[in-house]
Symmetry: D2
Subunit: 348 residues, 4 copies
């Protein structure tokens, strides 16, 4: 942590800051620049210290230096984390594809979709049973009934399941059916939920919040990991910006940046990232080209009758086309897609 003094701060003010630092058992290291003095704080600093030092007379600003995340960072754990779920390896160099409907609506809708995405090469089945909705008057999901349908579709197709958990009270029931827990964007800073997921033995995918900075997002992963669960992956699904032509602005650069800062797998979600089905294929290809460890894609038999997110859902046909392109791009960048076969015939 660096304390930047005001240009006209006097000796007494500087001494007082140093004294404050030393009383906390930390070291104070003075640098007198041409224009102003800065004081390096050496030792175990913490964010609150900066906030407290900022109010001392003569202080202009505080600059944090340490990275607040540890377990999620590559500086502490240099090797890539690989998460294996029923034979599917996430983060091992071969991108995986998670696909399925936004919401589980019926047995027929789910099974039909699961078979179609499986046939096209998907590795993992997605589907929402508990849906967070902006309005209390929207369709909220089938609940445990939806989980059961997911389980049945998983058993038939051999794909493990990823599904969202909305609140701590649902974790137990979701864990009975799901193979991967998904933390939705709105819950990226729901710390209680993160910690509770950190106490399960299920892999957790943490979606980026609409206004989640990279560092906060890694700290969200840290919340899960700090409870002992190291099997965490991150999912870029678009951030909120001034642009209204797309539902969100998908921050493709977050993918390679996270791969540099962290050892955790990174998944791209072009369905939510763009909000328009016709942008899903190009952004899926872009995500793989940028180094994503996987994709999560919304697919629906009839997007024009979907109970949620129809506008961003692919049809079976457009999903197959997307897979062809994504497969070609993966091969081109030396990251061939994870084989669909490896996840197959599971003894459940």
């Amino acid at each position: 942590m660096i304390v930047v003094m005001k240009r006209d701060s006097d000796r007494a003010e500087i001494d007082s800051v140093i004294k404050h630092i030393e009383e906390l058992g930390l070291g104070a290291h003075l640098i007198e620049g041409e224009e102003r003095t800065v004081i390096g704080v050496v030792g175990r600093t913490y964010p609150e210290l900066g906030s407290a030092l900022e109010v001392l007379p003569g202080v202009d600003a505080i600059v944090p230096i340490s990275k607040p995340y540890k377990l999620a960072g590559r500086e502490v754990i240099p090797d890539d984390t690989i998460i294996t779920v029923k034979g599917v390896e996430i983060g091992g160099g071969r991108p995986v594809v998670m696909a399925g409907p936004c919401s589980v609506e019926s047995e027929e809708q789910l099974l039909e979709t699961a078979r179609a995405v499986r046939a096209a090469g998907a590795n993992i089945l997605r589907g929402g049973a508990y849906k967070p909705r902006t309005s209390p008057y929207q369709f909220r999901g089938l609940g445990e009934e939806g989980l059961k349908l997911l389980k049945a579709a998983s058993e038939e197709t051999g794909m493990p399941i990823i599904t969202e958990v909305l609140t701590p009270a649902d974790i137990d029931v979701v864990c009975q059916y799901a193979d991967i827990l998904q933390i939705g964007a709105r819950n990226m800073q729901n710390y209680i939920l993160l910690e509770e997921c950190g106490r399960t033995n299920k892999p957790v995918m943490v979606k980026r919040g609409l206004s989640g900075q990279i560092q906060e997002w890694l700290l969200a992963a840290e919340y899960v990991m700090s409870q002992g669960n190291r099997r965490v992956m991150l999912c870029e699904r678009g951030i909120r910006t001034f642009e209204t032509a797309t539902r969100n602005t998908m921050d493709v650069s977050a993918i390679p940046l996270l791969k540099r800062l962290s050892h955790l797998p990174v998944i791209g979600d072009p369905s939510h990232g763009t909000g328009h089905w016709y942008l899903v294929e190009p952004l899926a290809a872009a995500s793989i080209a940028a180094g994503a460890d996987g994709l999560i894609i919304e697919v629906h038999p009839n997007p024009d009758h979907a109970l949620s997110d129809g506008a961003q859902s692919l049809t079976f046909e457009s999903f197959r086309r997307m897979m062809d392109k994504v497969r070609a791009v993966g091969d081109a960048v030396g990251r061939p897609l994870h084989p669909a076969g490896e996840a197959e015939p599971l003894a459940v």
Copy 2:
């Protein structure tokens, strides 16, 4: 809901959209413009319908018309909601002041602060017992012990208590001590938490999320209200923008805009809104000038030793100065501050 067709959409595409609408029991109303055709959808529309219609051939865009919030809107409930808490009226034309430390740290810190803000004219005591923190390694609050200290300080000073509830499991214990439940910014779209608070008999203050649009924020209030609890107030606490010179960007215009769109009381939080103690007084004054029904302010005996949010906390002295200015501005705009006296000697 308006369906905007592409400029080159043909008759068959238009007919197909109309058929789709009519099959749902809704009316389709055609307008053929100079440049393109639009179709008005008449009847009980819902957001999913727009998402589904958007994928039909020939459709360019969907424009929603209805406001998705009802109970929170002034179009449905035209008269101002007034929330009375132990004699303090919120939303009745006389702005209230909520003040206290960011976190409850100790009995002495809390009591000293409570007495000081009370003496300066505050009406309601704030203080965090359960703290949402960006990092798992930060101070997380005293929990129920903190609630007990709040209760004691409330009894001595006669001020009702507002405190944050983080997760559904804490609601019961928080309700035993608190007079107003606060939903923090990170939980604005934690729908389960909102609904659970909607089932209590405590007033609820919903803070705006970092990326919360006005409409989403009113829908968050709607979540609480839809469960039967109509005593909801809104709190503007700054949004996340590209500007880094302040912690957040306080959207002062949200205050009069909400007063126009909604009947709910609106509180300004210049402490979080700006993140710097020296900006709290001017933004508190600005909030009152813009029509706020109240303020919530962080105050600490020694900001340079605070366990959280020191940089944005006022000292007792600067809080008194702020109160003087805010009182003058309230008088100037015909909205004198709520008297401190009215909340006093409570039979608890």
Copy 3:
């Protein structure tokens, strides 16, 4: 400037950075923290240096310390700048009001408006003759004809004129008529235009760009000042955020923050800041409460027939009401409005 090394940077990398710094004639000051090493660079640093150092092996990040603006900053020039224009003092503690139509449309429209705002207490006449428009097919202003009408209205009412200059080639003609040059938001980083205005003897009002950070905005002022023209004022007119319920998000906190960082006068523009006439009065009052040195307000005899910005223009009646409120707030915060009278009967 602080060079933050990676946690695992080795001695050779650290030495290489130090060597690089010293070869430039700068001092390198090492601080070895618990977690990582940082190197303070002492001497006349510059932004390009940071960008260049960032690519050296072992470097994690660069943290600038110096403020890049000098003449615009209060650290260099501590006393408030007061700009006097034909008897009107801007920045002298008494807020001024600039008012008039968005665009000059006709002699009648302008004169009528000028008289009305004068009677209500405005000090300076605003009006656009050269209009920047998002689309090439919109009304672009009357050009020099508009300037002549402004001049005539100014002579009749005694109010000096502020008007926008769009491009260097127009500066000469605008200077023949205008008393204050306005740099519009879209031109905040049009450096050639800023410098050319810096070579005139007219005061310059620099509006904040839609995505202008406080520091960049002060650097825009620095561009003008670096050419010798010290009579610069800043105008907050809203920034672009994710919120679409208002045209822009008016950053009221920028007003007191600029007063702290800079000695230049700060004007609030609630018309553009909000985009809705019904939000102008509350945000005008908020701006004054927050310490603005003045306001700039769009007024039109018939907003429903305005050729530009009708939705955010006040009628004469609503402008009078706004003035009453703003006057009361100015009195309340010890900053009474600048008298209208002092600017009167000018010998031109």
Copy 4:
């Protein structure tokens, strides 16, 4: 344009809006919904009309329907625009690569770079002679001397030149040397500059402004095109968001979205888009995967000694690696890179 009435608007208000519309020679088309009435305006509407109608009593909101750009839109001109510059085809299905230093610093630096990027497969030489800089104290480019160096390097390597023009007064001199005019991000809404470039016979590349919405950006292109110059291309170079871990947020989704909305070529700029050299290769690959018609890349012989943008410049070696990856991705998505050879040995 749709006029949305308030829920409680009465018949007289509705009639008054209709009368206002009809007096302008436009048609008013009433739709009475379950909740509120909307009025479709049929005929040649314009943005000012919406702003004016918004202030009428009983009006809740205005929804524009027409796209304000015409020449830039695919609805008016369905076929892809192909711009041929000295044998290099931009927009013809084979992505081009523009590369070179941020600023022209010296003959040696430029020539060396030009040869290196040419050898690696670049088609067009970039280099700044007039540099827009945030601070007046930064390096501002060599001016016409820089243009002469560009010309010499172009003649030796056979690559046409793209370079930025900052202000109308420079257009003539820049046109003497450059093959493509670049409008920088800060000038996206410098309408005078856009129009002046529209009167030249040089292709123009319009970079997206930091806060430029897709629609505004297409309108910037429209400004150029409205003057008769149809050879316009667009360049995505990152937008400003809340994320500070990257210099900007590169909106990769803008690439396919523009290809859908417009017939103009779209170039990706991962150097400015990310601000970090180590993110350039993945985002270059992502841009091509998403359908970009080309890339513009900053390359420098010694980024650690660059006079500008060192942190985001590739070395010759990293540029070659990037080209290999980009070539592979182009092949994979059926859009092989434009051959370098075709631009060669020019009779100038």
